[in-house]
Symmetry: C2
Subunit: 330 residues, 2 copies
């Protein structure tokens, strides 16, 4: 049997116990060109919250009655697809379920001998690529610049800061709580951390970046975005990667009141989704893989267990009770 988390109701605000239903169904037979994958790790990402809204976006929303969409990594159990054979470890949009039958579109093989399997949902996966293209392509990060990143202990932010350090930038990370701040400073090599739960973020940004910031990489939105906008240098870039503080809002997101800082500083605010970079994934994965193998980028996953606990674990994305990449072990 296949345990699946089915989307039953679109959440208004935070997902609750009516949002998904855990069901058991027969594992379907595979057809010609298909394979059966046993999902070992399910990636939990803030973007999933957006996929649940009935709104025009960069991909269609998950439909009511469908298995909740998620990236997964796991093993091919049976295959009638010539590109994938039994025993291969693969990554793709497997969904929140134990087993996936797929034609393999969008799936790719991963090597479990290089890094633990779950790392392919994090640093050597979409979050790592998001950090790489967001900082270097959208943000046009240059050597020696001042880079501020929010969600700095998270899957994307932690890699953004480490890549910026590789580029010899001054890097300030914003994270919640002393422990995370210590982690990004002591273990990841950020120059400074700001604890948004215990410090005056605006004042600390200006203290730590007296000349202003060249890049603000935003994962959170809300007030922190507004504070960062007060510290832009001429020609600064604000990379809009996410806005996790706003995803469970029941009213319109808070718009950045200080956006006219873009005008007076000739600065720009630019958004992106990693799906726009599919043609360049190999470039990104090779660069990140090399840095990981050289020890220049450290990775961390918070692994929680059990598909039955999907909702409780998913909510840790928003409460901040996790570090690095959040994954669900099936």
């Amino acid at each position: 049997m296949n345990k699946q988390q089915i989307l039953r109701n679109r959440p208004f605000g935070e997902p609750d116990d009516k949002t998904w239903e855990l069901v058991k169904s027969e594992i379907p037979e595979i057809g010609d060109g298909e394979f059966l994958m046993k999902n070992e790790f399910i990636s939990l990402d803030p973007a999933m919250r957006g996929w649940m809204n009935d709104a025009k976006s960069y991909i269609p929303p998950v439909q009511i009655g469908e298995v909740m969409r998620a990236l997964t990594v796991g093993e091919v159990m049976e295959s009638q697809n010539e590109k994938f054979k039994k025993g291969d470890k693969v990554c793709g949009t497997g969904g929140v379920q134990e087993y996936t039958v797929t034609d393999g579109k969008g799936f790719y093989k991963v090597d479990p001998t290089l890094v633990p399997l779950e790392t392919y949902t994090g640093t050597i996966g979409m979050p790592g690529l998001t950090a790489y293209f967001g900082l270097l392509d959208v943000g046009q990060c240059k050597e020696g610049e001042v880079v501020l990143v929010s969600g700095a202990a998270g899957a994307v932010g932690s890699v953004v800061g480490q890549i910026a350090k590789i580029k010899n930038c001054t890097v300030v990370g914003i994270a919640g709580g002393r422990e995370k701040c210590k982690y990004i400073e002591d273990e990841l090599g950020f120059d400074h951390a700001i604890d948004y739960k215990n410090e005056n973020v605006k004042r600390r940004i200006h203290e730590l970046c007296p000349e202003g910031i060249d890049i603000y990489f935003d994962n959170v939105g809300g007030e922190i975005l507004d504070h960062a906008l007060t510290a832009l240098r001429r020609k600064a870039r604000v990379v809009i990667c996410g806005a996790i503080s706003q995803y469970n809002n029941t009213s319109a997101p808070k718009g950045p009141s200080n956006y006219l800082s873009l005008l007076v500083n000739g600065a720009r605010m630019e958004g992106f989704v990693i799906l726009h970079y599919t043609k360049r994934y190999q470039e990104g994965l090779q660069a990140i893989g090399k840095w990981v193998s050289e020890g220049k980028i450290k990775t961390h996953e918070t692994v929680e267990e059990g598909i039955d606990n999907f909702r409780e674990v998913f909510m840790k994305l928003f409460s901040g009770e996790k570090r690095g990449k959040l994954v669900l072990k099936v």
Copy 2:
């Protein structure tokens, strides 16, 4: 004697009768390297409202007790500056006063035989340059794109739309009132106009631009910016030129709630001030001058009289009771 408008109190919200004081003072003697200019036209620009706030910006604020800063065009009456001679028509930051004594820094000569003198405060001046570099350089306008512009009957917006038409774009302008809408459609050649005072702006944008917009050139901010953000195409550019709806706010400006449209569309919002382009003014003025002489760009100035009436005339920038460039004839 020299009539001058002196900044006496920084306005909180709209300027009122305590903001400026009209004084009469002796015309100073010119010194070595200086010249005396008789201001014939004073340029009234939304940016002047920003110069009155005691806040860090792209130039220092006007100080209390100083002559109100403004661009002017006029005639050299006496000169001890070798670059400017008696009888030259010149343009520069002359201030809201009848006579200016200056060392000529930032001043340049204009030719009154080509266009009326007041046009050098508009289309063949800062507003024209703002339109030119904002649309083509910041907005990276390409042939055949869909361009939406607010403040479309104003000094900058009217030129933005006409340049976009020269680039074979589909151009939609947003303006206040039937008369202005008719003007931009019938006289300036915009494809469509939206009357924000009488139409549902969001619905009309989507009706007139069913495939979305490539460029939104924003002069107004506020709700109209938010409506435009709902209609962005992939890789769209939002050019932040101004936010006249917000300049007299007594609280923080309204931030654009729909800014996450930048994320899902891989779009960007970029600001600029024309002072960042000083090195390229000649390029811009030559291009605009050519288009004006070919009849491809039409210019219009609303000329009001009397330095005594400065405040009443200035407020027409915000009430919308003017068309094209607003100038005060001294």
